[in-house]
Symmetry: D2
């Protein structure tokens, strides 16, 4: 499936950082979901760089819905959303052609695509493509909201500390970047969603998250802390509250055996420091085959820990719609 | 795909803990891969419980290859491997019917399957089913070995410490269980394997890992440590060694932009404590709808941190064969 | 997907003509469908050779359900059904190794599988494998029956005539075989099933049918007769009957735009003459690379036009369950 | 997959007859395939209506390649092609809202999409969408051409006769439409392409063909004539010609056991008469629920038998690229 994800609700991404347009196709959404262009714009604005802690490359994100929406509602046919790239400076990158930016996909793309990759600004690997995720995700979020399902992603830490802005400004001043950790909480999801083995809720969500550039770890509930725990403290005891079965703790992050148990779904995502830093770096020119020094000019985020939140929320909304659609049928989301 | 994983090389699992047989179908493997029953048996023996730190339910794993192998070689047709269940004591579980074992899939399976689930010993959710993964994985490992690709999974820690046996015996004596962390290293994998977005190498591997019961976190390279790092320390500088492009550090665990870069692939997996503990636990009987106390008799591992290693190695071998097959074609593994 | 078909309800086939066992895995069926072993046996008996017009290789089809059924109902977990091969005479084939039987898969299998194919009796290409389709299809048929959906396949013609038995006996006496045409009618299927483009009901059914050996043509409704018609006679006028929208004719075979319209689904399948004939044939030995004469001994059907009916019905039942499951959700079939 | 087809090379279609733009995403094509905009334009011109036998709605097809092509070559990333709709007259359709055009998808779309379908000009079901198939197919055809594979589709008959133009003009003069039969021949395809059961070459091609509006039958080689034949005349004897294994006849249309045998792949497609005719028709208004008379104004083809040829050729090119890519790997098409 490469650039697509999902079984019954399917997202496909296309575009490059310095192409004219990027976009997404969202297929399989139920007909009759209200689509608000204002809400899509609002969601895109959450992804847009803001203030001194983020990149100066700001895009207007003048998206347009090309198909699949009619009279303000989804039709059930594939929804294509196109977003023009407006603020691109390809010259920034042309000079660096061949010089592999460490931690970036320049070198691996070159090998994979045999030298035919669009290398400008990371090409198809650019974070710019996530705008399509956010636009499509806005429709999925609205569908979920009607079913009482809400998704929120927030910053847990940055550079190991909790004063996120200070950490980022400090890194920026050092011509450096910094990583962070974010947490996502899904509430209102019914018990019984997910499959026993390969379409476990954890597996499906993790696969989606690792698509996002910069994500290098995913843990559910107590996650890596489980490795230090005893069963007697890790196990979530079942109880009855208000006539409903739930658990007194939620170390399992709302998932048992790959299937939601009705508690909030909770997971953390590790985000690596933005690879692009202004500091000089050691690298290799894979065209000449020689070692080289590298100084990345361009315009970059010293941290993506804030901007990634809406991308995660949006992408998880889409895969949840897929899971619900497989369970309840295409029309169950309407 | 539910109980199947893969695109060109596809594994399907079936069976229940207390059924007569469990098994796996591995479809899409190249023809001409030598199949050694002795090697499969040896791999299965690594998964089998051993010594005082593990469960007393020992299975003989008298597997048989039903299809897809002829004259000692894969034919290219689907390989079905059947493994009889021999040492089962259904009575251990019959009495507990309805009492949700905390951290287990009893309750979620009951909801998902509307009360029709085979509840004996975890049914289809049982770790017993992983024997099929190991048997099929043995064939994948042999195919990879011929291409110079090796996969090793080893224990990093258990209960937070490094003296694994002591931690497990201590938990066992306390009628408890304990979690751990394991690390997998893949060497010899060429650069250029993986896809930019949804079939990133990280995403594909993570989805596979979360299929395994007990896995609650996956991190690649520096993983969650990235969240505390600066870009200047996190980025892996490229260099030339022996005429080959590589990196001086490997914080990215051999993957950039979802694609292998030729360095070893490294990832850690968080394993939660075995849910089944002999200590009394608080729970709910989801048939009567009342809270209850629970004491799990049966025979259980106080930790699965050792046994899970071969399951991870085997499953990762299968998804790697799939990735290589998509890149180089069905026959490229021969 | 190779040896699997379906998205939410998935059938996987495995086995070879002369292996110990063949079988099928049916994954994604709703939990709670009653499974009658007697009904499966009855369906298998319809596929079994009967009387003088069919092969003398009669199998007992002593199937067993290995997984996914508990206390007489589907559990929702994958259903594996195993059927032993009992009446095999490999020696019949050993002598013919390398001699490509015309119209058979011997040569193409040899090329595709690089010489590693199990060549005995057609190996994985054998019609024997369709027993797995019939066994799994019996469960799907029962699920559909509860929803009021019925599928019947019957013989339209054989050797161009309608006296099927006479045509077959005549061919048999000539050491020859003969083709035929069968028609399938699905009643009770609601309007709205199918997708606009690539998962059209026609496309999904046709793909399934062409999996069956001997099928070389599929047409829906008026099918190839459409090519000679005018729109004014071909179009099915809509009308109201008993308060329901239907059509006065059914040239479209119940499908408009790839989607069921509530009328019976009708399609015809062209079945070629059994490739195996006792007459001497011209061929090539692909091992020696020389032309050769070929006389096929073994035991063969002079026509498969009767036996194929239950295979078509069963396979179509499975893909219909998949379509309904995608539309209404996994549980909608219960 | 709904509006997508393929496993390793995947086509996704989107758009509606009266939207601003339609388009296609082609994912998984090898990097390094030369892309000629002139050739794409030329292919699109073959699909465009021509002369008095075809509709007066002529589109300029001013396509643009949005992604996946860089410096004149495919990059390996998804290729999105957008084609504006220019010559649309929505008013033609607005008045007919609710009146089900016989043989069209109006009614089935209404049921499937619960009344939210874009009903103008057939919406997403419109033949207009096939422009995206032709544009994407042009790239696939070029890739195949380099491998020596050629695909040609030509008209076999129209209205039962061979004087196609006369049949169409006669139908047009009668305010009617007429069906036809077309034949596709693929030459240069190596032996060994296709899978034994569900990804048989016949099944994969048929599934693709039935996606195209108007296709109601597909037969390979002798197809439905097989039903009247004896095995001794139907079987294609193998022989050696110029040192190569081939067959003296080609009744099987180049496919044995679902796999190409090196002979030309030959199949016929039945095309029904264009549903839209100017003659008055009996129908139902599915909004009022009453029977009604219907006269279709608009601009329509009296036959699509010529225009469908390039659509079939293009779509088959894409699925062949997928099959070759699965066999030989993503890069094998370069």
């Amino acid at each position: 499936m490469k650039n697509s994800i999902g079984t019954n609700v399917i997202l496909t991404l296309f575009g490059e950082s310095h192409g004219d347009e990027i976009g997404a196709v969202l297929d399989g959404m139920a007909p009759g979901i209200e689509v608000s262009e204002a809400f899509i714009a609002e969601q895109l604005s959450k992804r847009r760089p803001q203030g001194p802690t983020e990149t100066a490359r700001v895009e207007k994100d003048n998206f347009r819905i090309v198909s699949g929406v009619f009279n303000g509602f989804t039709t059930g046919a594939p929804i294509c959303i196109i977003i023009p790239n407006e603020n691109k400076r390809s010259a920034d990158y042309e000079a660096m052609r061949g010089k592999a930016r460490p931690s970036h996909a320049d070198y691996t793309a070159h090998i994979k695509y045999c030298g035919f990759e669009d290398y400008r600004g990371g090409g198809h690997f650019s974070g710019r493509i996530t705008a399509g995720i956010v636009a499509a995700g806005a429709i999925a979020l609205k569908a979920l909201e009607k079913k009482g399902v809400r998704i929120e992603t927030s910053i847990l830490s940055c550079g190991g500390g909790s004063d996120v802005e200070a950490e980022i400004m400090s890194a920026k001043n050092d011509l450096d970047s910094v990583g962070g950790k974010v947490q996502t909480v899904i509430t209102g999801l019914q018990a019984g969603v997910g499959e026993p083995w390969f379409d476990s809720l954890e597996g499906v969500i993790a696969k989606a998250l690792f698509a996002i550039g910069g994500v290098k770890g995913v843990e559910f509930g107590a996650g890596f802390k489980f490795s230090e725990m005893r069963g007697s403290e890790a196990n979530d005891p079942f109880c009855i509250r208000d006539g409903k079965i739930c658990t007194t703790t939620n170390n399992n992050g709302g998932i048992n055996g790959g299937i939601s148990n009705g508690m909030p779904i909770v997971f953390n995502t590790a985000v690596k420091p933005t690879p692009s830093i202004a500091k000089e770096q050691q690298s290799v020119d894979f065209i000449t085959g020689e070692e080289c020094k590298l100084e990345i000019k361009g315009r970059h985020d010293p941290a993506i820990v804030r901007r990634i939140c809406i991308v995660i929320t949006s992408l998880v909304a889409i895969v949840l719609c897929d899971m619900l659609s497989l369970k309840g049928g295409t029309d169950s989301l309407r």
